[in-house]
């Protein structure tokens, strides 16, 4: 009997742990930022005007980190355009923070693909690091009080954004 116990004591935890591991995706990281106050930023937009978090107070924000070299962002672009069209009248601002990319590339890209958001330039990736961004696309939903309600890594879908915007209301 002692041997049976020993057997399961050794084999059980190891197999259980490895089985648990199989159900996980190590690349998927929950954001540490959810529920926290959105960090301040002061970045130039494409027109050279400074935009701060302070100046956007009272509005719901969808902050999208993106780049022209990022394939999934291209898919997402269409979703963002549709969102902007449908929610134009609401208390919602879409911000597109440029991640590791050049101004010329961004201008050319938006000229061809349309511009669903206000573009913020983040040349030293200051805001990216402040928001804990590890890659693009990543999207933050910030409520009118300036709290981060959700963070999404990867391509946005229409349904997901609609759902999130409803929770912000």
């Amino acid at each position: 009997m002692k041997r049976v116990i020993l057997f399961f004591l050794i084999a059980g935890p190891i197999v259980a742990l490895l089985a648990f591991g199989l159900t996980r995706n190590p690349r998927e990281l929950p954001s540490a930022m959810i529920g926290k106050k959105a960090p301040d930023f002061a970045l130039k937009n494409l027109e050279g005007k400074e935009v701060t978090l302070e100046s956007l107070k009272g509005q719901n924000l969808l902050i999208n980190f993106w780049a022209t070299w990022c394939g999934p962002c291209y898919q997402e672009h269409a979703v963002l355009k549709a969102i902007q069209k449908q929610h134009a009248q609401e208390n919602l601002r879409l911000l597109g923070v440029v991640y590791q990319d050049s101004v010329e590339n961004v201008k050319e890209y938006l000229r061809q693909e349309g511009k669903p958001f206000e573009v913020l330039l983040d040349p030293d990736n200051k805001m990216g690091i402040d928001y804990g961004v590890g890659g693009v696309p990543e999207t933050f939903f910030v409520d009118a009080e300036g709290f981060i309600r959700e963070k999404h890594s990867g391509v946005l879908t229409m349904e997901y954004v609609e759902f999130m915007l409803n929770t912000l209301k």
């Binding site: 990281l29 540490a32 590791q100």
Partner: protein, 127 residues
């Protein structure tokens, strides 16, 4: 034709931007920055510290460390800054508290138990 393809690729795809010349830190600060960067995991490179990573994000984070050091922040404050944003995951050495302590205590216990066992076993065998 293939050449053309490559040139298109070359000019439209990532050309890593030349980093702005970092304002030099004094050597003591450099060492401090390096020591901090050795403990932070580069989010895009899997497993290596940002101090060793050539990735752009790691370089940016390195710059952020230097900036914060210049503002007089302490090592702990800077590590906390990154932990707040990226989660405990960013620390390459888990904080020695709570369950994380098992990382140090279990091996130590194993070694101690082994030494005690060996001591008695060898004594018995050579009795």
């Amino acid at each position: 034709m293939k050449n053309f393809f490559f040139y298109i690729l070359f000019f439209t795809m990532a050309v890593p931007a030349l980093a702005a010349k970092p304002t030099p830190l004094d050597p003591a600060m450099q060492i401090k920055a390096r020591a901090i960067a050795d403990q932070l995991r580069c989010p895009v490179c899997r497993g290596i510290p940002i101090a060793e990573s050539p990735a752009e994000l790691a370089q940016n984070m390195m710059q952020e460390i230097r900036n914060q050091l210049r503002q007089g922040k302490s090592e702990e404050e800077i590590l906390n800054y990154f932990e707040d944003r990226y989660g405990e995951w960013i620390l390459l050495k888990p904080k020695p508290k709570g369950m994380n302590l098992t990382l140090w205590l279990l091996p130590a216990a194993l070694l101690a138990a082994g030494v005690v066992f060996l001591f008695f076993a060898v004594r018995r065998w050579s009795a």
